[in-house]
Subunit: 447 residues, 2 copies
């Protein structure tokens, strides 16, 4: 019954029922998502996806944001979704390490561009798609994630189907089917972390969920109880779970609003360590550092234990490199994760001094950092609420700056300002095409 | 290292190394696959997939077999793969209940049609794609399947990537990447059994594996140890496994040759019961039957326990309906699984007399059937090797008849004979297009 009850809740939740704060958070999420997506759109892995798209003769339907190119909506969902996760700089639901916008926003943009849909309905689809995937994540976390599943694409398949289903105007019965067709496609191994296949995951989840809704729209059948059945998603893909979390306090509180924006271009679990190392850099020069001991939850090191990263991408999964550059450069933006930076001799020297220590007594959002200096003195910093966390969120101004920094290599400052302005009054726009039109890459044209 | 070693083995295995018997089995498998694919190609779920394909503006690259229509190769892999599993009449690797051709053959046909490839290379890709997925199935079966995964699409993603990778001429490093990109897309819940989403599984696996190989071809990166890593396929998706089975006796014996063809249009686990009920029908009229007790392995009933099926599709997952029609009609072909037949009063009456009993002491390939008559007498039949099993395989003549029966509603008898003749000398053909050209649906043209 759970899957059907969930669909009932989705149908009950109108745009009018959203608080202002929820709508504001949705717009911030879209702005953040657009920034990371457009910012990475010239990455070589996107070139590769576009080559495949060309090889398949994909039709021109929806825009690859910031590339001045269109593919069919399925490929656009895949490619824009992939781009948004390339920098590991997208949003994060801290309780489940799920990146909510990645599988949902590309579906909303692809269908919004190709069908005549109101921006309010797009916001509703976006919010509910995120809400559903996050509630499903809550139900299976941490068991599912510990097992080795990348929770963003597994739960994301469901959310993408919900967003697409809303925008395709599915009835309740078809929405149940869409969830079934999407849920059986749930996929994604954490083993892929540190490779191009990690960002491919949210894109593929978007594509899978969209396909599920398109098929359900035509009458395709599936299980009516994909979430709760004996051989359904929760039982098969998680050793333990609590499915009551899927509907618990629906309408009273939004998991979606627990979605945090990252100030740093790496996994959220490293953010406390970055804050700590930036603070510690006030107390010593690199030469004066004997060691920086970072006491973190075992999970943190499991995710970021690459002690000898060779590429910028691997650097994002290295607490050693990340601690080093945070101390050296007082930031951890995309430029701190270039291949050059990872292999620079001063970074390599510094990262040898970063000493992670694991403790079950410290939660994933915190770090205790101890700087030991060569003169025998020590300095301790404890981070309880890292920048970008729920209790210490990025301000609108910080978000605008992040968006600007990300998009600057791709689109002009005029366009950047336009996109920020339009996205922050998204519900007033006639069409999402007003935003998409501003994401025009003039540099490509000039080349 | 296992994933890399597997790729080494694939590269070592040339067409010339295959025994005649392996090549013959491959051609029989392709014939069987073409029969079930073309036979179901006018099913409404294929209509739905084609509607979605049209909606995406799919380009005309590869043929939907028996539909006189082309889509891009990705959609063709999805749609032909789906069609092949609709009747549940495709081939089965009995040790793992895996249907090997479904995820592989559509990739071979799509790439074979669109690239100028020798039919020998197509056979090699087909055999090795099947061999890899079956060896991976062996490694995780039964734990993986018991957990609730549909093993055909999970392992099938790997096999499809191997077949596509061979045909795209990937080097070893890229083949390792293709396996990684494919393996992370492994998906499929047994909860979908009895719905259109079950046949969708092998099609989607074909599509996922093809995408993996296309991306690897462009340089896309993934894990180099998708099979064996701590967070890789085997550890995440199976509670227990034996990965030595992936390479064990490679080149000495082919799992692929343990691939059996079904004489009946339902899950292989029901075939012993069908043979038994057909035999028992010699001993009583329906009215004289008090009960037919079928003692089967618990697995069999778990898969086929629908006691009140309402549709033909549900009938295929019902030992009750299947036993009834086998007794009443001495067959279990597609026509015994029509919606009408499932709801006919004499079938419903008869199925109430079918009494499954489970016992761990009987293996999945066997059945002990006891007919109790209203006059108090009993008759016992034990089936050790059902028709279509490895020790009692379908003959070439039986296969030709099966192909003919399946294709008759779609293509003319001349064309049927042509396809059989060409497929059985596949390695001599200049191109797979000689077969595809004969699969022309004249009836669609006339309508």
């Amino acid at each position: 019954m759970l899957t059907k009850q969930l669909v009932d809740k989705i149908f009950e939740t109108s745009y009018g029922s959203f608080e202002e704060s929820t709508i504001l958070h949705a717009k911030k999420s879209l702005l953040n998502w657009l920034g990371v997506t457009v910012g990475a759109i010239e990455h070589k892995s996107i070139d590769m996806l576009l080559e495949v798209s060309d090889e398949l003769g994909s039709s021109e339907q929806a825009t690859i944001l910031g590339r001045n190119k269109k593919t069919d909506i399925s490929m656009a969902a895949l490619i824009n979704g992939t781009s948004s996760h390339i920098f590991d700089f997208d949003d994060t639901h801290l309780d489940t390490i799920h990146h909510p916008s990645g599988p949902i926003a590309p579906v909303v943009f692809a269908l919004g561009e190709t069908r005549n849909l109101s921006t309010k309905e797009l916001l509703r689809a976006f919010i509910l798609g995120c809400e559903v995937e996050l509630r499903i994540s809550n139900a299976v976390y941490p068991s599912h994630y510990q097992k080795g599943y990348h929770i963003t694409p597994t739960a994301g398949c469901f959310g993408a189907a919900v967003a697409a289903g809303i925008l395709l105007n599915l009835d309740k019965e078809k929405m149940v089917m869409a969830l079934g067709i999407a849920g059986t496609q749930a996929f994604g191994l954490r083993e892929m972390f540190g490779t191009m296949t990690k960002p491919f995951h949210p894109g593929k989840a978007a594509q899978n969920g969209l396909l599920a809704a398109l098929l359900a729209d035509k009458g395709f059948t599936s299980s009516k109880q994909v979430l709760e059945a004996k051989r359904g998603f929760a039982n098969v893909m998680s050793d333990s779970h609590d499915l009551t979390k899927v509907l618990d306090k629906w309408g009273e509180s939004y998991e979606f609003e627990k979605n945090a924006f990252k100030p740093y271009a790496c996994g959220i679990v490293l953010h406390p360590s970055i804050d700590a190392c930036i603070q510690l850099s006030e107390f010593a020069t690199p030469e004066e550092v004997e060691s920086i001991e970072l006491t973190v939850n075992p999970y943190v090191l499991e995710l970021t234990g690459k002690d000898q990263p060779l590429t910028g991408l691997e650097g994002k999964f290295s607490i050693y490199h990340t601690g080093a550059i945070a101390f050296l450069e007082k930031d951890a933006a995309e430029e701190q994760y270039s291949d050059e930076k990872v292999n620079a001799s001063n970074t390599v020297e510094m990262r040898k001094k970063i000493k992670p220590v694991v403790s079950e007594d410290i939660s994933e959002e915190k770090v205790k950092a101890v700087l030991k200096k060569t003169d025998g003195t020590t300095q301790v910093v404890v981070i309880e609420d890292a920048t970008g966390s729920i209790d210490n969120p990025m301000t609108q101004e910080m978000l605008n700056k992040k968006f600007t920094k990300l998009c600057k290599p791709i689109i002009s400052q005029d366009k950047i300002d336009e996109v920020i302005e339009k996205t922050m009054r998204f519900e007033e726009l006639d069409s999402v095409n007003e935003v998409i039109g501003s994401l025009y890459n003039e540099r490509i044209l000039m080349n």
